[in-house]
Symmetry: C2
Subunit: 208 residues, 2 copies
């Protein structure tokens, strides 16, 4: 499976460069060790403050702060000082995984697994030559805070919104152990992938 | 197709009871008139203020106001006076369509059609005995405004957030004509559905 080999090399290279979210490294290794299954892009869930030049101008957006754990009030407050131009949003986003299966039956298993682990926005993104499942949850917060460097909320509101975003993040991340458990069961069933273990050794990846 | 018959009866009954969003009735009729294709649930896009008793307690949520067109500032302000208990959110949500196709090939056509009309969150929700495609967009606003009847934002912020939510709604609804155009082309290709026209006549549905 050439595509899986390429995906694994990308993952291991990104890990070496410290570009993979620490708190899901073990889970990503687990998923990729399953026969016929591999991940493309993933995020462990995050909260932060984003500046968007204009509505829908996502490619030009920049994070003033972005963390993969609950954010401190002071961090948020400090980051807002760097706001310059465009819409300012507090964003909280759940973990998200893009996972490819070799065939439709495998994709169905991933889909079920995501839903039954509490990730209610789990869908099939691509159903053609390859099968791509997105495991995603509903805890999205998109709170506008101001525009063009001007903050329209006070500290009490900011603290309230940051707490809420943190609660949502904790809630969605709280499902990761259940997800891991189910992927472990799936590996039992579908078996481990020799290609994975061979490449992991070559890249000196620590497996637990 | 027994399932389509039931879906059509539901749709025509809901229309008779005034429960279908006016601004997408013609589009829904068009989609359902296509051979082998029918809608289950849909929304034309909306903005409003929602009260949720607790995080994740969606079934217990209630709308203080909800409209399928841009919302006036005074409407929002008035609705907030009725806030009582739980988290208060300003929400703006794009149009969403759940559409069933008879086979995988049909579902793929719907999926492509949604994406190419600018609905970037178009996915396959179910890929089993039936094929369900969700046509959905990215313009979601979820702005917390306060809790337990207490509003934590001022009028300037509320006006800013309502304007932003309205802009997002206009932007996503602005894609509906393109979507309609592509469904019209799909009907040319797949043909009209006799069952649809027969039931529409029985329910005295006006077709344009």
């Amino acid at each position: 499976m050439k595509a899986k080999r390429e995906a694994l090399v990308s993952l291991f290279t990104a890990m070496r460069e410290g570009k993979v979210d620490e708190d899901i490294i073990d889970l990503l290794l687990l998923i990729n060790s399953i026969n016929g299954v591999y991940t493309t892009s993933s995020c462990s869930g995050r909260i932060g403050i984003m500046e968007e030049p204009d509505l829908g101008a996502k490619p030009l957006a920049r994070w003033l702060i972005k963390v993969h754990r609950p954010m401190e009030f002071e961090e948020a407050r400090g980051a807002l000082r760097n706001a310059e131009k465009g819409l300012i949003f507090l964003k909280s986003q759940p973990p998200i995984f893009h996972i490819v299966a070799e065939d439709l039956e495998g994709a169905r298993r991933l889909h079920e697994l995501g839903l039954s682990s509490g990730f209610k926005y789990t869908t099939f993104k691509v159903v053609s030559k390859r099968y791509l499942v997105e495991i995603n949850a509903t805890e999205y917060l998109t709170a506008p805070l101001g525009r063009d460097g001007r903050i329209l909320v006070d500290d009490e509101y900011l603290s309230f919104a940051v707490d809420l975003g943190n609660d949502m993040l904790r809630r969605s991340k709280g499902r990761l152990p259940r997800l891991e458990e189910r992927f472990r069961a799936l590996r039992e069933e579908l078996g481990g992938d020799e290609l994975f273990y061979e490449l992991a050794e070559r890249f000196e990846v620590k497996l637990r």
